[in-house]
Protein backbone atom coordinates (compact mmCIF):
# COMPACT_ATOMS: atom_id res chain seq x y z
CA UNK A 1 0.00 0.00 0.00
CA UNK A 2 1.23 3.46 -0.90
CA UNK A 3 0.25 6.35 1.29
CA UNK A 4 0.87 9.96 0.38
CA UNK A 5 0.13 12.56 3.02
CA UNK A 6 0.01 16.33 2.68
CA UNK A 7 2.68 16.41 0.05
CA UNK A 8 3.71 19.97 -0.77
CA UNK A 9 6.49 21.04 -3.08
CA UNK A 10 7.62 24.53 -3.93
CA UNK A 11 10.41 24.58 -6.53
CA UNK A 12 11.33 28.20 -6.10
CA UNK A 13 10.38 28.63 -2.46
CA UNK A 14 8.28 31.68 -3.29
CA UNK A 15 5.12 30.46 -1.66
CA UNK A 16 3.62 29.23 -4.92
CA UNK A 17 3.78 25.45 -4.56
CA UNK A 18 3.51 23.23 -7.65
CA UNK A 19 2.14 20.45 -5.47
CA UNK A 20 -0.10 21.56 -2.64
CA UNK A 21 -1.12 19.31 0.26
CA UNK A 22 -1.70 16.32 -1.95
CA UNK A 23 -2.77 13.13 -0.20
CA UNK A 24 -4.09 9.76 -1.34
CA UNK A 25 -3.81 6.04 -0.74
CA UNK A 26 -3.15 3.39 -3.38
CA UNK A 27 -4.16 -0.18 -2.63
CA UNK A 28 -1.88 -2.98 -3.75
CA UNK A 29 -2.66 -4.39 -7.16
CA UNK A 30 -4.68 -1.40 -8.35
CA UNK A 31 -4.16 1.23 -11.00
CA UNK A 32 -4.28 4.76 -9.68
CA UNK A 33 -4.83 7.42 -12.32
CA UNK A 34 -3.38 10.84 -11.73
CA UNK A 35 -5.08 13.30 -14.02
CA UNK A 36 -4.74 16.94 -14.65
CA UNK A 37 -3.88 19.57 -17.22
CA UNK A 38 -0.37 20.45 -18.17
CA UNK A 39 1.51 22.06 -15.32
CA UNK A 40 -0.87 20.70 -12.67
CA UNK A 41 1.98 19.03 -10.79
CA UNK A 42 1.62 15.41 -11.90
CA UNK A 43 5.24 14.78 -12.81
CA UNK A 44 6.39 16.65 -9.74
CA UNK A 45 4.30 14.34 -7.56
CA UNK A 46 5.75 11.28 -9.29
CA UNK A 47 9.28 12.63 -8.79
CA UNK A 48 8.56 13.16 -5.09
CA UNK A 49 7.14 9.67 -4.70
CA UNK A 50 10.18 8.06 -6.33
CA UNK A 51 12.89 10.04 -4.61
CA UNK A 52 13.96 11.92 -7.72
CA UNK A 53 13.00 15.07 -5.86
CA UNK A 54 13.68 15.49 -2.16
CA UNK A 55 10.48 15.76 -0.17
CA UNK A 56 10.07 19.22 1.33
CA UNK A 57 6.83 18.68 3.19
CA UNK A 58 4.52 15.76 3.80
CA UNK A 59 5.24 12.07 3.60
CA UNK A 60 5.28 9.13 1.23
CA UNK A 61 5.21 5.64 2.73
CA UNK A 62 5.33 2.21 1.17
CA UNK A 63 3.84 -0.53 3.33
CA UNK A 64 4.18 1.80 6.28
CA UNK A 65 7.83 2.59 5.76
CA UNK A 66 8.72 6.15 4.69
CA UNK A 67 10.45 6.51 1.34
CA UNK A 68 13.51 8.05 2.97
CA UNK A 69 14.05 4.89 5.00
CA UNK A 70 13.59 2.45 2.15
CA UNK A 71 17.21 2.40 1.03
CA UNK A 72 18.49 1.52 -2.41
CA UNK A 73 17.00 -1.96 -2.45
CA UNK A 74 13.59 -0.35 -2.71
CA UNK A 75 14.39 0.34 -6.36
CA UNK A 76 14.65 -3.36 -7.03
CA UNK A 77 10.88 -3.51 -6.93
CA UNK A 78 10.07 -0.20 -8.60
CA UNK A 79 9.73 0.48 -12.31
CA UNK A 80 9.60 3.98 -13.68
CA UNK A 81 8.89 5.42 -17.08
CA UNK A 82 9.60 9.05 -17.72
CA UNK A 83 7.53 11.58 -19.60
CA UNK A 84 10.59 12.63 -21.63
CA UNK A 85 12.12 9.41 -22.94
CA UNK A 86 15.65 9.16 -21.54
CA UNK A 87 17.74 6.47 -23.15
CA UNK A 88 21.35 6.22 -24.27
CA UNK A 89 21.20 7.36 -27.89
CA UNK A 90 24.51 5.70 -28.64
CA UNK A 91 23.29 2.32 -27.45
CA UNK A 92 20.88 0.09 -29.31
CA UNK A 93 17.45 -0.60 -27.91
CA UNK A 94 18.56 -4.03 -26.78
CA UNK A 95 21.73 -2.72 -25.15
CA UNK A 96 19.75 -0.06 -23.31
CA UNK A 97 17.61 -2.76 -21.75
CA UNK A 98 20.40 -5.23 -21.17
CA UNK A 99 22.70 -2.81 -19.36
CA UNK A 100 19.85 -1.44 -17.31
CA UNK A 101 18.91 -4.98 -16.30
CA UNK A 102 22.46 -5.41 -15.03
CA UNK A 103 21.80 -2.87 -12.29
CA UNK A 104 19.26 -5.00 -10.44
CA UNK A 105 19.87 -7.66 -7.86
CA UNK A 106 16.55 -9.39 -8.52
CA UNK A 107 15.63 -11.66 -11.46
CA UNK A 108 15.03 -9.57 -14.56
CA UNK A 109 12.96 -10.00 -17.70
CA UNK A 110 14.44 -11.12 -20.98
CA UNK A 111 15.10 -7.85 -22.85
CA UNK A 112 14.13 -9.41 -26.17
CA UNK A 113 10.77 -10.45 -24.85
CA UNK A 114 10.10 -6.91 -23.61
CA UNK A 115 11.11 -5.43 -26.96
CA UNK A 116 8.74 -7.81 -28.65
CA UNK A 117 5.94 -6.83 -26.27
CA UNK A 118 6.26 -3.17 -27.24
CA UNK A 119 6.81 -3.91 -30.92
CA UNK A 120 10.47 -2.98 -31.12
CA UNK A 121 11.91 -6.33 -32.18
CA UNK A 122 12.88 -5.05 -35.61
CA UNK A 123 14.60 -2.03 -34.10
CA UNK A 124 16.38 -3.98 -31.37
CA UNK A 125 19.82 -3.54 -32.92
CA UNK A 126 19.41 0.04 -34.02
CA UNK A 127 20.82 2.90 -32.01
CA UNK A 128 18.17 4.53 -29.87
CA UNK A 129 19.16 7.94 -31.25
CA UNK A 130 17.63 6.81 -34.52
CA UNK A 131 14.31 5.95 -32.86
CA UNK A 132 11.24 8.12 -33.29
CA UNK A 133 9.81 9.75 -30.19
CA UNK A 134 7.13 7.09 -29.88
CA UNK A 135 9.71 4.33 -30.23
CA UNK A 136 11.87 5.87 -27.51
CA UNK A 137 8.80 6.11 -25.35
CA UNK A 138 8.06 2.43 -25.86
CA UNK A 139 11.66 1.63 -25.05
CA UNK A 140 11.43 3.58 -21.80
CA UNK A 141 8.19 1.80 -21.03
CA UNK A 142 9.84 -1.57 -21.69
CA UNK A 143 12.77 -0.56 -19.50
CA UNK A 144 10.42 0.21 -16.60
CA UNK A 145 9.32 -3.44 -16.68
CA UNK A 146 12.80 -4.97 -16.78
CA UNK A 147 13.03 -5.76 -13.06
CA UNK A 148 9.51 -7.22 -12.82
CA UNK A 149 8.47 -4.35 -10.57
CA UNK A 150 5.70 -4.63 -8.02
CA UNK A 151 5.23 -0.85 -8.12
CA UNK A 152 5.08 0.85 -11.46
CA UNK A 153 5.19 4.59 -12.09
CA UNK A 154 4.14 5.54 -15.57
CA UNK A 155 4.25 9.15 -16.72
CA UNK A 156 2.16 9.57 -19.87
CA UNK A 157 2.91 6.08 -21.19
CA UNK A 158 0.54 6.36 -24.14
CA UNK A 159 0.93 9.97 -25.20
CA UNK A 160 2.12 10.28 -28.76
CA UNK A 161 1.48 6.63 -29.58
CA UNK A 162 -0.80 5.51 -32.39
CA UNK A 163 -4.08 3.95 -31.21
CA UNK A 164 -3.02 0.37 -31.87
CA UNK A 165 0.27 0.72 -30.01
CA UNK A 166 -1.44 2.64 -27.21
CA UNK A 167 -3.88 -0.24 -26.94
CA UNK A 168 -1.01 -2.71 -26.67
CA UNK A 169 0.59 -0.66 -23.89
CA UNK A 170 -2.71 -0.54 -22.04
CA UNK A 171 -2.98 -4.31 -22.35
CA UNK A 172 0.46 -4.69 -20.77
CA UNK A 173 -0.53 -2.38 -17.93
CA UNK A 174 -3.66 -4.43 -17.26
CA UNK A 175 -1.58 -7.60 -17.33
CA UNK A 176 0.79 -6.12 -14.75
CA UNK A 177 -2.13 -5.36 -12.51
CA UNK A 178 -3.33 -8.91 -12.91
CA UNK A 179 0.08 -10.01 -11.63
CA UNK A 180 -0.50 -7.91 -8.51
CA UNK A 181 1.52 -4.88 -9.55
CA UNK A 182 0.50 -1.49 -8.19
CA UNK A 183 0.42 1.19 -10.86
CA UNK A 184 0.65 4.95 -10.51
CA UNK A 185 -0.42 6.27 -13.88
CA UNK A 186 -0.05 9.89 -14.84
CA UNK A 187 -1.93 11.13 -17.84
CA UNK A 188 -4.04 13.88 -19.23
CA UNK A 189 -5.89 11.45 -21.40
CA UNK A 190 -9.26 10.91 -19.72
CA UNK A 191 -10.13 8.08 -22.05
CA UNK A 192 -7.07 6.10 -21.01
CA UNK A 193 -7.76 6.80 -17.38
CA UNK A 194 -11.37 5.76 -17.70
CA UNK A 195 -10.44 2.48 -19.35
CA UNK A 196 -7.59 1.53 -17.06
CA UNK A 197 -7.88 3.02 -13.64
CA UNK A 198 -9.47 1.66 -10.52
CA UNK A 199 -9.30 5.08 -8.93
CA UNK A 200 -8.62 8.45 -10.46
CA UNK A 201 -7.57 11.67 -8.80
CA UNK A 202 -8.07 15.02 -10.51
CA UNK A 203 -5.22 17.40 -9.97
CA UNK A 204 -5.58 21.08 -10.70
CA UNK A 205 -3.02 23.74 -9.80
CA UNK A 206 -1.26 21.36 -7.48
CA UNK A 207 -4.39 20.35 -5.56
CA UNK A 208 -6.57 17.29 -5.75
CA UNK A 209 -10.09 18.43 -6.60
CA UNK A 210 -11.79 15.03 -6.83
CA UNK A 211 -10.85 11.42 -6.28
CA UNK A 212 -12.89 8.26 -6.77
CA UNK A 213 -13.46 5.29 -9.04
CA UNK A 214 -14.37 6.51 -12.55
CA UNK A 215 -17.72 4.75 -12.28
CA UNK A 216 -18.51 6.42 -8.97
CA UNK A 217 -17.61 9.83 -10.31
CA UNK A 218 -19.90 9.34 -13.25
CA UNK A 219 -22.72 8.11 -11.04
CA UNK A 220 -22.25 11.09 -8.84
CA UNK A 221 -22.58 13.52 -11.73
CA UNK A 222 -25.10 11.61 -13.84
CA UNK A 223 -24.97 9.95 -17.20
CA UNK A 224 -25.47 12.93 -19.41
CA UNK A 225 -23.85 16.30 -19.55
CA UNK A 226 -24.59 19.44 -21.54
CA UNK A 227 -22.09 21.92 -22.80
CA UNK A 228 -23.61 25.39 -22.88
CA UNK A 229 -22.11 28.37 -24.67
CA UNK A 230 -23.57 31.67 -23.55
CA UNK A 231 -22.77 35.33 -24.02
CA UNK A 232 -22.24 37.15 -20.80
CA UNK A 233 -20.85 40.68 -20.60
CA UNK A 234 -20.04 40.55 -24.29
CA UNK A 235 -17.84 37.44 -24.21
CA UNK A 236 -18.73 33.84 -24.95
CA UNK A 237 -18.34 31.44 -22.04
CA UNK A 238 -18.56 27.70 -22.08
CA UNK A 239 -19.94 25.72 -19.17
CA UNK A 240 -20.43 22.02 -18.65
CA UNK A 241 -23.45 21.08 -16.58
CA UNK A 242 -24.90 17.82 -15.36
CA UNK A 243 -28.69 18.18 -15.47
CA UNK A 244 -29.23 15.21 -13.17
CA UNK A 245 -27.73 17.30 -10.35
CA UNK A 246 -30.39 19.67 -9.10
CA UNK A 247 -28.11 22.68 -8.79
CA UNK A 248 -26.90 22.19 -12.37
CA UNK A 249 -30.49 21.82 -13.59
CA UNK A 250 -31.35 25.11 -11.95
CA UNK A 251 -28.32 26.82 -13.48
CA UNK A 252 -29.24 25.47 -16.92
CA UNK A 253 -32.79 26.77 -16.60
CA UNK A 254 -31.56 30.18 -15.52
CA UNK A 255 -29.20 30.38 -18.47
CA UNK A 256 -31.94 29.45 -20.92
CA UNK A 257 -34.33 31.95 -19.36
CA UNK A 258 -31.79 34.74 -19.61
CA UNK A 259 -31.76 34.29 -23.38
CA UNK A 260 -27.97 34.49 -23.51
CA UNK A 261 -27.46 30.90 -24.61
CA UNK A 262 -25.83 30.50 -28.02
CA UNK A 263 -25.39 26.73 -28.31
CA UNK A 264 -26.27 23.67 -26.27
CA UNK A 265 -24.76 20.25 -26.84
CA UNK A 266 -25.84 17.25 -24.90
CA UNK A 267 -23.42 14.35 -24.61
CA UNK A 268 -22.55 11.31 -22.57
CA UNK A 269 -20.84 12.16 -19.32
CA UNK A 270 -17.08 11.56 -19.46
CA UNK A 271 -14.33 12.13 -16.95
CA UNK A 272 -13.29 15.05 -19.07
CA UNK A 273 -16.71 16.69 -18.74
CA UNK A 274 -16.55 16.19 -14.99
CA UNK A 275 -13.11 17.70 -14.87
CA UNK A 276 -14.25 20.78 -16.76
CA UNK A 277 -17.26 21.05 -14.51
CA UNK A 278 -14.96 20.96 -11.47
CA UNK A 279 -12.22 23.26 -12.62
CA UNK A 280 -13.71 25.33 -15.38
CA UNK A 281 -10.83 24.34 -17.62
CA UNK A 282 -10.04 21.64 -20.12
CA UNK A 283 -7.27 19.12 -20.02
CA UNK A 284 -5.35 19.99 -23.13
Amino acid sequence: MIEVRELTHDYEGKGNPSVNEVGFTIEDGTIFGFLGPSGAGKSTTQALMTGLLAIQQGSVTYDGLPLQEQGRRFYNRVGLSFEHPNVFGKLTGLENLRYHAGLYSVPTEDPRRLLEMVGLTDAAHRRASAYSKGMKQRLVFARSLINRPSILFLDEPTSGLDPATAERVKEIIRAKRAEGCTVFLTTHNMQTADELCDVVAFLNDGRIVAMDAPRELKLQYGERSVAVEHRTNGSVRKEVLFPEKSEDAARLKALIDSGAVETIHSREATLEQIFIRLTGRGLA
Binding site: A101, L103, Y104, S105
Partner: protein, 344 residues
Protein backbone atom coordinates in the same frame (compact mmCIF):
# COMPACT_ATOMS: atom_id res chain seq x y z
CA UNK B 1 30.07 -7.28 -8.90
CA UNK B 2 27.57 -8.20 -11.59
CA UNK B 3 26.29 -4.65 -11.40
CA UNK B 4 29.77 -3.20 -11.80
CA UNK B 5 30.59 -5.54 -14.66
CA UNK B 6 27.44 -4.50 -16.47
CA UNK B 7 28.20 -0.81 -15.92
CA UNK B 8 31.78 -1.18 -17.10
CA UNK B 9 30.60 -2.91 -20.26
CA UNK B 10 28.12 -0.13 -20.84
CA UNK B 11 30.65 2.63 -20.25
CA UNK B 12 33.22 0.94 -22.47
CA UNK B 13 30.66 0.64 -25.25
CA UNK B 14 29.78 4.30 -24.82
CA UNK B 15 33.45 5.34 -24.75
CA UNK B 16 33.92 3.52 -28.02
CA UNK B 17 30.80 4.90 -29.69
CA UNK B 18 31.44 8.42 -28.41
CA UNK B 19 34.76 8.23 -30.19
CA UNK B 20 36.78 8.55 -26.97
CA UNK B 21 38.78 5.45 -27.69
CA UNK B 22 39.39 6.62 -31.23
CA UNK B 23 40.73 9.92 -29.93
CA UNK B 24 43.12 8.05 -27.67
CA UNK B 25 44.24 5.82 -30.54
CA UNK B 26 44.94 8.86 -32.72
CA UNK B 27 46.92 10.55 -29.96
CA UNK B 28 48.88 7.36 -29.35
CA UNK B 29 49.61 7.12 -33.08
CA UNK B 30 50.84 10.73 -33.06
CA UNK B 31 53.11 10.03 -30.12
CA UNK B 32 54.53 6.97 -31.80
CA UNK B 33 55.11 8.95 -34.98
CA UNK B 34 56.93 11.56 -32.94
CA UNK B 35 59.12 8.92 -31.35
CA UNK B 36 59.87 7.20 -34.62
CA UNK B 37 60.43 10.21 -36.82
CA UNK B 38 62.10 12.64 -34.47
CA UNK B 39 65.90 12.27 -34.69
CA UNK B 40 67.70 11.28 -31.53
CA UNK B 41 69.43 14.64 -31.57
CA UNK B 42 69.03 17.69 -33.70
CA UNK B 43 72.20 18.49 -35.62
CA UNK B 44 72.70 22.23 -35.83
CA UNK B 45 75.38 23.88 -37.94
CA UNK B 46 78.43 25.31 -36.18
CA UNK B 47 77.88 28.60 -34.42
CA UNK B 48 81.27 30.07 -35.30
CA UNK B 49 83.43 30.15 -38.40
CA UNK B 50 87.13 30.75 -38.16
CA UNK B 51 89.13 32.25 -41.03
CA UNK B 52 92.82 31.74 -40.51
CA UNK B 53 94.78 34.18 -42.68
CA UNK B 54 98.14 33.65 -41.01
CA UNK B 55 100.44 32.29 -43.73
CA UNK B 56 100.30 28.50 -43.65
CA UNK B 57 97.05 28.63 -41.63
CA UNK B 58 98.60 27.19 -38.44
CA UNK B 59 95.54 27.81 -36.27
CA UNK B 60 93.30 25.97 -38.70
CA UNK B 61 95.70 23.04 -38.70
CA UNK B 62 95.90 23.00 -34.90
CA UNK B 63 92.14 23.09 -34.48
CA UNK B 64 91.69 20.29 -37.00
CA UNK B 65 94.27 18.28 -35.15
CA UNK B 66 92.36 18.42 -31.88
CA UNK B 67 89.20 17.26 -33.64
CA UNK B 68 87.69 20.52 -34.81
CA UNK B 69 84.89 20.59 -37.34
CA UNK B 70 86.29 21.19 -40.82
CA UNK B 71 83.08 22.74 -42.00
CA UNK B 72 83.60 25.55 -39.52
CA UNK B 73 87.04 26.33 -40.93
CA UNK B 74 86.76 27.91 -44.38
CA UNK B 75 89.90 28.11 -46.48
CA UNK B 76 89.28 31.34 -48.28
CA UNK B 77 87.75 34.67 -47.45
CA UNK B 78 85.10 34.20 -50.13
CA UNK B 79 84.09 30.89 -48.59
CA UNK B 80 84.08 32.49 -45.14
CA UNK B 81 81.83 35.33 -46.21
CA UNK B 82 79.45 33.00 -48.00
CA UNK B 83 79.13 30.93 -44.84
CA UNK B 84 78.37 33.94 -42.70
CA UNK B 85 75.90 35.14 -45.30
CA UNK B 86 73.95 31.90 -45.18
CA UNK B 87 74.04 31.63 -41.34
CA UNK B 88 72.92 34.98 -40.07
CA UNK B 89 73.20 33.88 -36.44
CA UNK B 90 76.76 32.61 -36.69
CA UNK B 91 79.80 34.47 -35.45
CA UNK B 92 82.86 34.95 -37.59
CA UNK B 93 86.42 35.02 -36.26
CA UNK B 94 89.21 36.31 -38.46
CA UNK B 95 92.80 35.75 -37.47
CA UNK B 96 95.55 37.55 -39.36
CA UNK B 97 99.11 38.75 -38.76
CA UNK B 98 101.50 36.13 -37.42
CA UNK B 99 101.39 33.54 -34.67
CA UNK B 100 103.55 35.73 -32.48
CA UNK B 101 101.56 38.85 -33.17
CA UNK B 102 98.05 37.81 -34.18
CA UNK B 103 95.29 40.22 -35.03
CA UNK B 104 91.92 38.82 -34.12
CA UNK B 105 88.66 40.27 -35.37
CA UNK B 106 85.24 39.03 -34.36
CA UNK B 107 82.34 39.59 -36.74
CA UNK B 108 79.16 39.39 -34.75
CA UNK B 109 76.08 39.62 -36.95
CA UNK B 110 73.65 39.82 -34.05
CA UNK B 111 74.00 41.08 -30.49
CA UNK B 112 76.20 38.64 -28.62
CA UNK B 113 76.12 38.41 -24.82
CA UNK B 114 79.23 39.47 -22.93
CA UNK B 115 79.84 35.97 -21.52
CA UNK B 116 79.76 34.42 -24.97
CA UNK B 117 82.20 37.01 -26.17
CA UNK B 118 84.56 36.25 -23.28
CA UNK B 119 84.32 32.54 -23.99
CA UNK B 120 85.08 33.18 -27.65
CA UNK B 121 88.13 35.26 -26.81
CA UNK B 122 89.33 32.54 -24.46
CA UNK B 123 88.87 29.85 -27.09
CA UNK B 124 90.76 31.84 -29.68
CA UNK B 125 93.48 32.36 -27.12
CA UNK B 126 93.55 28.62 -26.51
CA UNK B 127 93.68 27.83 -30.22
CA UNK B 128 96.58 30.21 -30.72
CA UNK B 129 98.50 28.69 -27.86
CA UNK B 130 97.88 25.20 -29.24
CA UNK B 131 99.10 26.37 -32.62
CA UNK B 132 102.29 27.73 -30.99
CA UNK B 133 102.82 24.28 -29.56
CA UNK B 134 102.49 25.29 -25.92
CA UNK B 135 101.70 22.62 -23.33
CA UNK B 136 98.21 23.11 -21.91
CA UNK B 137 97.20 21.70 -18.53
CA UNK B 138 94.28 19.25 -18.69
CA UNK B 139 91.69 20.22 -16.09
CA UNK B 140 90.53 17.49 -13.74
CA UNK B 141 86.86 16.85 -14.15
CA UNK B 142 85.03 15.12 -11.35
CA UNK B 143 81.37 14.01 -11.67
CA UNK B 144 79.41 14.54 -8.49
CA UNK B 145 76.69 12.04 -9.39
CA UNK B 146 76.47 8.85 -11.27
CA UNK B 147 76.19 9.87 -14.88
CA UNK B 148 72.75 9.47 -16.37
CA UNK B 149 72.32 8.03 -19.81
CA UNK B 150 72.01 10.91 -22.23
CA UNK B 151 68.31 11.23 -22.96
CA UNK B 152 67.71 10.95 -26.71
CA UNK B 153 65.70 13.85 -28.03
CA UNK B 154 62.89 11.74 -29.45
CA UNK B 155 62.23 10.14 -26.07
CA UNK B 156 62.77 13.19 -23.88
CA UNK B 157 59.10 14.14 -24.16
CA UNK B 158 57.67 10.74 -23.28
CA UNK B 159 57.32 11.43 -19.54
CA UNK B 160 55.37 14.57 -20.40
CA UNK B 161 53.15 12.92 -22.99
CA UNK B 162 52.44 10.12 -20.63
CA UNK B 163 51.66 12.24 -17.60
CA UNK B 164 49.81 14.91 -19.49
CA UNK B 165 47.79 12.76 -21.85
CA UNK B 166 46.67 10.29 -19.23
CA UNK B 167 45.62 13.12 -16.94
CA UNK B 168 43.84 15.11 -19.60
CA UNK B 169 42.06 12.04 -20.93
CA UNK B 170 40.70 11.13 -17.55
CA UNK B 171 39.72 14.61 -16.55
CA UNK B 172 38.22 15.74 -19.83
CA UNK B 173 36.58 12.59 -21.07
CA UNK B 174 34.90 11.75 -17.80
CA UNK B 175 33.35 15.22 -17.90
CA UNK B 176 32.12 14.62 -21.45
CA UNK B 177 30.65 11.36 -20.21
CA UNK B 178 28.84 12.89 -17.28
CA UNK B 179 27.39 15.72 -19.32
CA UNK B 180 26.19 13.24 -21.89
CA UNK B 181 24.31 11.38 -19.18
CA UNK B 182 22.90 14.60 -17.84
CA UNK B 183 21.78 15.78 -21.24
CA UNK B 184 20.14 12.50 -22.14
CA UNK B 185 18.74 12.37 -18.58
CA UNK B 186 19.76 8.73 -18.38
CA UNK B 187 21.28 9.66 -15.05
CA UNK B 188 17.69 9.99 -13.79
CA UNK B 189 16.96 6.42 -14.77
CA UNK B 190 20.12 5.37 -12.93
CA UNK B 191 18.97 7.25 -9.85
CA UNK B 192 15.80 5.21 -9.57
CA UNK B 193 17.68 1.96 -9.98
CA UNK B 194 19.50 0.15 -7.17
CA UNK B 195 22.81 1.05 -8.86
CA UNK B 196 24.07 3.42 -6.22
CA UNK B 197 27.06 5.67 -5.82
CA UNK B 198 30.11 3.42 -5.82
CA UNK B 199 29.44 1.30 -8.88
CA UNK B 200 28.86 4.53 -10.78
CA UNK B 201 32.21 6.01 -9.75
CA UNK B 202 34.22 2.81 -9.96
CA UNK B 203 32.89 1.95 -13.39
CA UNK B 204 34.02 5.28 -14.85
CA UNK B 205 37.39 4.96 -13.14
CA UNK B 206 37.89 1.44 -14.48
CA UNK B 207 37.02 2.39 -18.05
CA UNK B 208 39.47 5.28 -18.18
CA UNK B 209 42.04 3.21 -16.37
CA UNK B 210 41.86 0.54 -19.07
CA UNK B 211 42.16 3.17 -21.79
CA UNK B 212 45.08 4.86 -20.02
CA UNK B 213 46.98 1.64 -19.46
CA UNK B 214 46.56 0.66 -23.08
CA UNK B 215 47.77 4.08 -24.15
CA UNK B 216 50.70 4.03 -21.73
CA UNK B 217 51.85 0.55 -22.72
CA UNK B 218 51.70 1.32 -26.43
CA UNK B 219 53.55 4.63 -26.21
CA UNK B 220 56.22 3.38 -23.82
CA UNK B 221 56.77 0.16 -25.74
CA UNK B 222 57.09 2.12 -28.97
CA UNK B 223 59.83 4.27 -27.50
CA UNK B 224 61.65 1.91 -25.17
CA UNK B 225 60.77 -1.60 -26.23
CA UNK B 226 59.81 -3.98 -23.49
CA UNK B 227 62.91 -3.64 -21.34
CA UNK B 228 61.45 -0.98 -19.12
CA UNK B 229 60.72 -0.82 -15.42
CA UNK B 230 57.09 -1.65 -16.16
CA UNK B 231 56.12 -1.89 -12.51
CA UNK B 232 57.06 1.73 -11.85
CA UNK B 233 55.77 3.05 -15.17
CA UNK B 234 52.41 1.30 -14.87
CA UNK B 235 51.99 2.17 -11.21
CA UNK B 236 52.46 5.83 -12.09
CA UNK B 237 50.13 5.67 -15.08
CA UNK B 238 47.48 3.90 -13.00
CA UNK B 239 47.76 6.49 -10.33
CA UNK B 240 47.60 9.41 -12.77
CA UNK B 241 44.56 7.99 -14.49
CA UNK B 242 42.68 7.18 -11.28
CA UNK B 243 43.45 10.52 -9.70
CA UNK B 244 42.46 12.63 -12.67
CA UNK B 245 39.36 10.59 -13.55
CA UNK B 246 38.02 10.55 -10.03
CA UNK B 247 38.85 14.16 -9.38
CA UNK B 248 37.43 15.04 -12.80
CA UNK B 249 34.18 13.21 -12.07
CA UNK B 250 33.72 15.06 -8.78
CA UNK B 251 34.62 18.33 -10.47
CA UNK B 252 32.24 17.85 -13.39
CA UNK B 253 29.41 17.03 -10.98
CA UNK B 254 29.23 20.70 -10.04
CA UNK B 255 28.46 21.95 -13.53
CA UNK B 256 25.29 21.83 -15.54
CA UNK B 257 26.83 21.18 -18.94
CA UNK B 258 30.05 21.25 -20.89
CA UNK B 259 29.90 24.98 -21.60
CA UNK B 260 29.50 25.84 -17.92
CA UNK B 261 32.35 23.50 -17.17
CA UNK B 262 34.59 24.77 -19.93
CA UNK B 263 36.55 27.65 -18.38
CA UNK B 264 36.91 26.24 -14.87
CA UNK B 265 37.82 22.90 -16.43
CA UNK B 266 40.35 24.56 -18.68
CA UNK B 267 41.85 26.33 -15.67
CA UNK B 268 42.36 22.98 -13.95
CA UNK B 269 43.97 21.55 -17.07
CA UNK B 270 46.31 24.51 -17.39
CA UNK B 271 47.25 24.21 -13.73
CA UNK B 272 47.93 20.56 -14.35
CA UNK B 273 50.11 21.56 -17.28
CA UNK B 274 52.33 24.07 -15.46
CA UNK B 275 54.64 21.44 -13.93
CA UNK B 276 55.53 20.39 -17.46
CA UNK B 277 56.74 23.89 -18.11
CA UNK B 278 58.99 23.53 -15.08
CA UNK B 279 60.12 20.18 -16.41
CA UNK B 280 61.20 21.70 -19.71
CA UNK B 281 62.56 24.95 -18.19
CA UNK B 282 63.72 23.87 -14.74
CA UNK B 283 64.65 27.49 -13.97
CA UNK B 284 60.97 28.20 -13.59
CA UNK B 285 59.70 26.11 -10.73
CA UNK B 286 58.13 28.23 -8.01
CA UNK B 287 57.25 26.39 -4.83
CA UNK B 288 53.53 26.23 -5.52
CA UNK B 289 54.01 24.49 -8.84
CA UNK B 290 55.90 21.69 -7.17
CA UNK B 291 52.78 20.98 -5.10
CA UNK B 292 50.64 20.26 -8.16
CA UNK B 293 50.45 16.44 -8.31
CA UNK B 294 51.58 16.27 -11.93
CA UNK B 295 54.90 17.84 -10.93
CA UNK B 296 56.05 14.86 -8.92
CA UNK B 297 54.47 12.60 -11.52
CA UNK B 298 56.47 13.81 -14.48
CA UNK B 299 59.77 13.60 -12.61
CA UNK B 300 58.89 10.16 -11.27
CA UNK B 301 58.05 9.02 -14.78
CA UNK B 302 61.38 10.32 -15.99
CA UNK B 303 63.10 8.42 -13.23
CA UNK B 304 61.18 5.27 -14.15
CA UNK B 305 62.04 5.62 -17.84
CA UNK B 306 65.57 7.04 -17.57
CA UNK B 307 66.81 5.75 -14.22
CA UNK B 308 69.40 7.90 -12.47
CA UNK B 309 69.62 5.62 -9.48
CA UNK B 310 66.97 7.46 -7.54
CA UNK B 311 64.09 4.96 -7.30
CA UNK B 312 62.81 6.53 -4.08
CA UNK B 313 61.43 9.29 -6.26
CA UNK B 314 58.88 6.86 -7.74
CA UNK B 315 57.96 5.41 -4.37
CA UNK B 316 57.64 8.81 -2.76
CA UNK B 317 55.47 10.04 -5.61
CA UNK B 318 53.19 7.05 -5.25
CA UNK B 319 52.87 7.51 -1.51
CA UNK B 320 52.00 11.20 -1.79
CA UNK B 321 49.83 10.25 -4.74
CA UNK B 322 47.87 7.81 -2.60
CA UNK B 323 47.02 10.65 -0.23
CA UNK B 324 45.93 12.85 -3.15
CA UNK B 325 43.87 9.98 -4.51
CA UNK B 326 42.16 9.41 -1.17
CA UNK B 327 41.23 13.08 -1.05
CA UNK B 328 39.95 12.92 -4.62
CA UNK B 329 37.80 9.90 -3.80
CA UNK B 330 36.19 11.67 -0.87
CA UNK B 331 35.62 14.80 -2.93
CA UNK B 332 34.20 12.77 -5.79
CA UNK B 333 31.86 10.71 -3.64
CA UNK B 334 30.48 13.79 -1.90
CA UNK B 335 30.10 15.73 -5.14
CA UNK B 336 28.48 12.93 -7.10
CA UNK B 337 26.12 12.18 -4.24
CA UNK B 338 25.16 15.82 -3.80
CA UNK B 339 24.95 16.80 -7.43
CA UNK B 340 24.47 13.81 -9.71
CA UNK B 341 22.78 11.10 -7.70
CA UNK B 342 20.97 13.24 -5.18
CA UNK B 343 20.24 11.16 -2.15
CA UNK B 344 22.06 8.05 -3.39
Amino acid sequence: MRRLASLVRQDLTLAWRNGHILVVLVIAALMIALIVFLPQEIATGPGEYVLDEIPGAPVRAAVLEVGGDASALPRTRAEYEALLESNPNAIGIEIAGSLEDPQVRIDAQTRVPRQTMNLLVASVELALRTARGEELPEPDVEFLRAQARVVPLNLAGVPIFLAFEVGILGFLLVAVFVFGEKQEATIRAYRVSPGGLWPYIVSKAVVFLLISIAYGVVVVAAGFGFRVDWLSVLALVVWASLFMTIFGLGFAAWFRNLSHWFFPGLAVLVLNLLPFVSYVYPVWSPGWVTVVPSYALVYALREALFPTGNPQLVVRTLITGAAWLAAAVVFCALSVRARLLKGA
